[in-house]
Symmetry: C2
Subunit: 420 residues, 2 copies
């Protein structure tokens, strides 16, 4: 073995892999352009990744990188020591400022990885009030994102709290190392050329997306244990997946990792019942065993074996929070699903299973979306809400049919895998 | 010795002293009111103090505590990897949001303690451009503070970088422990009852302030080695010191520690020359040996033995940055001065020596200031600028005279101490 081959075979250090993740977040994920400001949000524990992303962003020509850090202890402090007003208050002043920056062309990058069990012992009524106030105040930012006005990306960091929740029986250091391994693998940064790996992966997703767009189904029907759901697709819906181009003309990969293709359901044409196949971590609370029945697009009954109070509060946020805004297909053989890890983090778990989302629709999941005015968007069946919450309904036991406008049926997935 | 006496005699732990500092920052410093939001800024390293302040603030009824963290490594990253646009950009979107929140009644708390030598190796021209862009963008926030629209406080945390700069010859851990000792002592939190200690200290400062207000001097003259400066005082100037009440009606101690009484000089009646007596840490650059000559209130020549480029850039920021906005008296025997430590941090060093500030005047340093409209403020001699930079001109060798409108003279300080 030559010296070069030995060097090449040497496993990458943690720092090298973290640096590659940062590079991919900047170049493939947000795709920061020269002169752009970058607004990043991150848990303080993810500082090592924040610093590397900052280096790469300035290297790519960012004009200014601003990171808004969160700290789990101070989140808990609010619930422990806060008085009544503390649960109704939100930082509207900050979110309005952020939205102004995004609408002026700043890029957005979020590092996720909060402890999914952080709020387990907190009064769910307080959690519901806090989430609801925050969702309302955050609307200007979520509008900029769902309308895809600028380039953005979500990437993740294995915080100790998250790692402990995923691997409760392992030593904390071992748990964190194992979660990092899974993140680096799923984010495709552990091979020789992460940029090339993303190029190939984006091409695969584009192929699947183009097939679905050519079919232009009228509805999808999901069926399997606990589920028989027919989801009408919005008029002029477009399937998306992998890299996409923002209104500002910058092509980015919003999620790293990503395995899904997704589109816009019709907010008034969803009927049947559906059962969640994985737990959902929603703003620090874990929801399990969600069962929902839809009639005419609207949830008419809903329950969760765990986190029912948070589910009810979430569904009751506003008029659109009890209707679907997104539907996504992910094969059961996706690498994240095959890892066998339940990540308790939507960014990962939604890429391990087909899923639906309650709440706001994405502007870009329509044909000719850049010319769409708000009224067109709604008339075609898009949903409007302050929330957008994905939850997983796919598994190796779920079949999906595509139904054409004339009633003819084509298999889309069988036992969780692409049927053709 | 009884058990109780032994317990009482036991020295406080680091955690207990840090908790007392947090309590004083919340109760005496910012004096957070029920239902108020709090906006805090802090170095990520000061997280232990941030968490304790957050606990106390929620305990005092804060509706929401938001901390904007800074990180020295990412500040350096900008200078290391940033391209030209990186040095002209600022977070106007964030500062406008902050100003909106402060004007709507949020309280403000800053934890200082950045490494004063952080930018020593950075091109001063780039540092000057960054500071200048930031000062302009920050104006809405500094307006809210200098016009005292809300309750605010600055407190400090001994970061490793700051401790190393102050005590370069000590082991880093020893340096940090020694700096914490000095902070706890100067902030009056190491005794049995910090709240009572601050009450007594505020009463002392009020006595001195009231004496100066009763004298209503027309000018002050500072003289000693390298200094012979006559500073006219603004028409209707008021001396301030210790606790004061904001426009929103909340009494707070803006600086912890504080030893100064201060007022508003007349922006057009400053003549003579003055030499700095301590180094000045300005936005990460150390300025030493500043010498300045004033004519008719305006700087006509200025130089610094170290940091001259940063000084010139600072003075040239705008029309008001070459005139005085504040003049303050601090006895040479002040506890901070007597500690013998050069803190390289204005919050401390300005409380070890009489000082002057270039730039913006404080609204509250006028009689009947709450009724003052902008035109009155300027007509009385207040200065206007995007900057406010204090620098130290007092020592044990400086005398200060008070000069009445009729030319009679009274001694105010002799050899750095109160003359009466």
């Amino acid at each position: 073995m030559s010296r070069k081959a030995r060097l090449a075979a040497r496993p990458l250090t943690h720092g090298q892999r973290l640096d590659r993740l940062a590079m991919v977040a900047v170049k493939v994920g947000a795709n920061i352009q020269p002169g752009q400001q970058l607004i990043m949000t991150a848990n303080v524990e993810s500082l090592p990744l924040v610093r590397r992303i900052t280096d790469h962003a300035y290297g790519a020509g960012a004009s200014l990188v601003t990171t808004l850090f969160s700290d789990e202890q101070t989140v808990l402090s609010r619930f422990r020591h806060g008085q009544d007003a503390a649960f109704e208050s939100a930082t509207g002043w900050l979110f309005e400022g952020m939205a102004n920056a995004l609408n002026d062309g700043a890029a957005r990058l979020a590092i996720c990885g909060d402890n999914p069990k952080l709020l387990d012992a907190v009064d769910p009524e307080k959690v519901g009030r806090v989430n609801s106030a925050r969702a309302k105040a955050y609307k200007p930012v979520s509008d900029a994102i769902t309308q895809f006005r600028t380039n953005w990306n979500i990437v993740s960091y294995a915080t100790t709290g998250w790692a402990k929740a995923v691997f409760p029986d392992l030593h904390p250091k071992t748990a964190q190392a194992k979660l990092f391994d899974a993140i680096f693998k799923a984010s495709r940064v552990d091979g020789d050329d992460p940029i090339a790996a993303w190029k190939a992966h984006n091409a695969e997703l584009a192929k699947r997306r183009d097939w679905l767009n050519a079919k232009n189904f009228h509805s999808l029907r999901y069926y399997g244990p606990g589920t028989d759901l027919t989801v009408g697709l919005a008029d002029g819906h477009a399937w998306c997946g992998g890299a996409a181009t923002s209104q500002s003309g910058i092509t980015c990969n919003a999620n790293i990792p990503t395995e899904e293709v997704f589109t816009t359901p019709h907010a008034f044409r969803v009927d049947g019942y559906v059962t969640s196949t994985k737990p959902l971590n929603h703003a620090g609370s874990l929801l399990q065993g969600i069962q929902v029945r839809f009639e005419g697009g609207r949830i008419v009954s809903a329950s969760a074996l765990k986190g029912d109070h948070v589910l009810q509060k979430m569904i009751g946020t506003d008029d659109g929070s009890c209707r679907l805004g997104e539907v996504a297909l992910v094969p059961h053989s996706s690498p994240i699903s095959q890892s066998g890890i339940l990540f308790l983090e939507t960014l990962y778990d939604e890429n391990a299973a087909s899923h639906i989302a309650l709440g706001q629709s994405y502007r870009k999941a329509f044909r000719n979306w850049k010319g769409l005015v708000q009224d067109d968007f709604v008339a075609r069946g898009a949903n409007q809400s302050n929330i957008h919450v994905d939850w997983m309904i796919g598994s190796g036991e779920i079949d999906v049919d595509g139904i054409h406008a004339d009633g003819t049926i084509e298999p889309v997935m069988r036992k969780g895998e692409w049927a053709q």
